[in-house]
């Protein structure tokens, strides 16, 4: 088996800035030219190396980077000179000096330039300086190839050709330059980084770390409660929201249970001071978004840039259904008012107008992962400095369209659903809305109360298997969870609770379970599907379950997976069946997977 190798030091020189192990050592004004900058770096080294002044710019750059790379800590006497190698690469070889040399030919060729018309002189200068005698090479590639460098250097170390190696990229042409050097050793000394393609890429890219995004407020409305407090109370009592259909005029009433919000459109319109003619999706969205913003109580919000990113799957379909009944009979009939807000974006627009949000708004629709995607798109808007605050989540009302759609797919359970049970038969549709208020670190510090937690990780991957079914390997789900962990810088053992997508269909729970097994086996955190309470709220589910995840961190909760009886034979784990309070919960993963293979996972972390 291959040994692990480690990056024990790194040095980046670019944009007139020198970084050692990620920290800035020196930064110069952009106004000075490249040779001037390189000389300024040399002066900080406190060394006297006459050869430096003879070198061309490419060699100066590489040599300076190697000096900084090896400074402070590297004891070369640990190794034999033959055991230390230098493997470098760049795009333009020695072209910078080649061109100067060509110009000098007219007035009599310059031998001092000529000697630098080979790129591998850079490795030579480093070896001369340090008396290294191990393997050296200089590769030319269009871009820095982290995979190639890790493979090549890894092989030299694994085969004991070398015991330590300086490797990386030294590129300079005119004003454009970049050096990125890595010291690779076999011995793990102190706080070092594993030598992998991903780590090398990350160090090479040298990006400013993205700022944290915090959750300052939450709002939710579902079949188990019209607000956060009511939903929490239902969880504690173990009361599911499913019942016979009452609001929808459908032939399926009484045949399949659904999880309806317990307020009528009139009541919803009334509490929001809205017209009852609005789509129920808009009314649900407004109710939860308002609660979230009120909960966040951000001081001086009117001076901040605020966005609204909302998700839904069928827009104003409930009203379009009414329109179509008349329209089909006669194309000049049907109240236009009922179809005017058919578009998904209309729901968002109406609510944004009510909330007074106009700096940024958009709508996402990726089936059942819609609002998970809305939440992390919102976080990225903050990280990319588009806005300071984002109200993000989603809403979906039950409609005949979706009820009949899922009915044709034959995945509706005629009883209350049993997610992750061996004898599960399908899902119950639900409705509702859930929003979180995301804020930048700067805004978080102005809050009168402490923020709930932060959104530490997220990822969106595609199963690319089938338009509606999930792959048996759970590829998309696996990649989504894995990617979210990587972005959060966490490992599986850090996760204290998973809010499963857990629809209760044979296909989803099997695929999701397989993905959980692939990632977590043999140590499974507690997990459950809160869809056993709320039903599957489609485009709202990611937002609703994000709110529940945030509450799990805030109050140390683990929600029960209702009606679970028999463990699925494929797996060694089973969902949590009891409501637990006062748990130590630092990191919660929330899964949302949808049609079109769209799989997203979010991770919320205690501050």
């Amino acid at each position: 088996m291959k040994q692990d190798n480690y990056i024990t030091s790194s040095c980046i020189i670019s944009n007139h800035t020198v970084y050692k192990n990620g920290a800035v050592l020196l930064s110069e004004q952009a106004a000075i030219d490249v040779p001037g900058f390189l000389n300024a770096v040399y002066k900080t080294l406190d060394t006297n190396y006459a050869r430096y002044y003879k070198m061309d710019n490419l060699n100066k750059l590489g040599w300076l980077a190697s000096e900084i790379l090896l400074s402070g800590g590297f004891d070369k006497t640990k190794y034999k000179p033959e055991d230390i190698g230098v493997i470098l690469s760049n795009r333009n070889s020695s072209l910078d000096t080649d061109q100067r040399y060509l110009k000098s030919v007219a007035d009599g060729a310059s031998p001092s330039l000529f000697v630098y018309t080979l790129p591998n002189i850079v490795t030579g200068e480093i070896c001369i300086r340090n008396h290294f005698k191990g393997e050296d090479a200089f590769f030319i590639a269009e871009d820095f190839d982290a995979g190639f460098i890790t493979n090549y250097v890894g092989k030299l170390l694994d085969d004991d050709v070398l015991q330590a190696c300086i490797c990386g990229w030294v590129e300079l042409l005119g004003k454009e330059y970049k050096a990125a050097l890595f010291l690779i050793e076999k011995v793990k000394t102190g706080d070092v980084t594993l030598f992998t393609k991903e780590k090398v890429t990350k160090i090479f890219e040298n990006k400013k770390p993205l700022q944290d995004v915090f959750i300052a407020g939450i709002g939710v409305i579902t079949a188990i409660g019209n607000n956060v407090a009511e939903c929490l109370s239902s969880f504690e009592k173990g009361e599911a929201g499913m019942a016979n259909i009452t609001h929808l005029d459908t032939v399926h009433a009484g045949k399949v249970p659904v999880a309806e919000v317990k307020m009528t459109n009139v009541e919803l319109a009334d509490i929001n001071g809205m017209e009852v003619a609005m789509s129920r999706t808009t009314l649900l969205s407004l109710t939860a978004a308002k609660e979230a913003l009120k909960d966040a109580a951000i001081p001086g919000i009117e001076t901040l840039r605020i966005g609204f990113v909302s998700a839904n799957t069928v827009g104003g379909m409930d009203k379009s259904e009414d329109f179509f009944i008349d329209f089909i009979a006669n194309n000049s009939k049907g109240k236009l008012k009922n179809v005017f807000d058919h578009e998904c974006g209309s729901m968002t627009e109406v609510v944004a107008n009510q909330l007074g949000i106009k700096d940024y708004m958009t709508t996402i629709s990726t089936a059942c992962s819609s609002s998970a995607n809305a939440i992390f798109y919102g976080a990225r808007l903050i990280r990319n400095d588009v806005v300071d605050i984002v109200v993000a989540g989603g809403a979906d009302a039950l409609t005949k369209f979706t009820l009949n759609g899922f009915n044709t797919l034959m995945i509706l359970d005629k009883e209350f659903c049993k997610p992750f049970d061996e004898n599960r038969r399908g899902l119950n549709l639900g409705e509702g809305a859930g929003y979180v208020v995301l804020v930048s670190e700067k805004v978080m510090k102005t809050l009168n109360q402490s923020a709930y937690c932060k959104l530490s990780g997220y990822n969106n991957s595609n199963d690319a298997f089938h338009q509606t079914a999930s792959s048996p390997e759970g590829t998309g789900s696996y990649l989504a969870m894995k990617g979210a962990l990587e972005k959060a810088g966490l490992t599986t053992s850090d996760i204290d609770y998973i809010n499963l997508h857990g629809t209760g269909t044979p296909n989803n729970d099997n695929a999701e379970g397989t993905a959980v097994k692939r990632l977590f086996d043999p140590h499974y955190p507690p997990m459950s599907s809160t869809k056993s309470f709320t039903g599957h709220t489609l485009g709202a589910s990611g937002g609703i379950e994000a709110v529940f995840s945030v509450l799990a961190i805030k109050h140390g909760l683990i929600y029960p997976n209702l009606r679970f009886e028999t463990k699925m034979h494929e797996f060694s784990f089973e969902p949590e069946t009891r409501f637990k309070k006062g748990q130590a919960i630092s990191h919660v993963m929330s899964n949302s997977f949808g049609f079109g293979g769209n799989c997203s996972s979010l991770i919320f972390s205690k501050i």
Partner: protein, 354 residues
Amino acid sequence: MKIYIRSAACISPQKTLHQDDLLTNPVEYNDTRLKAIEPDYSAYLDPKLTRRMSHVIKMGVGAAMECLRNGEITMPGAVITGTAYGCLEDTVTFLTRMIDMDEEMLPPTAFIQSTHNTVAAQIALMLKCHSYNNTFVHKGISFESALLDGIMLLNEGEADNVLVGGTDEMTDVSYTILKRLGLYKRFRGSNLSLFKTNSTGTIGGEGAAFVLLSDKASAVNLAELTGMQNFYKPIGIDDIEARIIAFLKKYNLSIADVDLVITGKNGDLKNDAGYDQLANTTFNNCATANYKHLCGEYPTSSAFALWMAANIVKSGKVPASVLEVGAENIMPKTILIYNHYLNLYHSLMLVSTC
């Protein structure tokens, strides 16, 4: 960091899919509804697959595949689409059957394909692309939202070769409804003289246009996407002007540096009033071009404009069919696209030579 449009492809009511001649012989329609010219999809798609695909799915997947082919990229790093209406044909089919058949014995296919993310999903499925996949559905800025997502992914170093597209289809039903809502002209006329009609209403259109975004310089690249911004409900024309100037300033440009302005004029007197005002003020020394007479008005038509701008910058020629003010041989180096949707959503895109 610079963001490049590595390649682009467009299916529209014009012959846009093969770009050897850029809109030199525009297709004339004497109608208030322009339908996309469907290519022979068998060059891109397995006929077994296309048989079940609706119009918008075929347009979207076809344009996406052509875009990847133009960019010589087999696997994108992300797939992001924008669509205001989604899969209308399938939605209407399912809705109609549901009502006609009293919710009994419905086939599932139309429902399955009615979700708004079907185009992006089908692209992922065909390519076996497990990367980031998202769909924005926000009216007249659906495409702009997708574009911002793509730009952010590149900024974050999350992906390269981000495939971003805008797709919308016009169906008989949506045309009828939008006509009843007063969006379209009441009289038929040539689309090529759309801007001379001096009447209210526009012409309906549809299409699918994709761009492949990358932060890597390459000889293949069509153009640089220098900037993108959208704003909602501006307070009058002064606000719009100020925002355009501020947008350009962000990139150290003034309006004098813009060689061509592509506007979203759609032939509706009310809609075009703002553009006409700007033509006399902010843009009064600029060459200007329009595009909606060629593709019709639809919420993601700005994707057509971006496809067009990228190709103009690359070829150095402005097609006579789109020019309003200025000369064909101006070789624009910097193009500003300014479009608004129902005067609510305004978008600015800046495209430059690379």
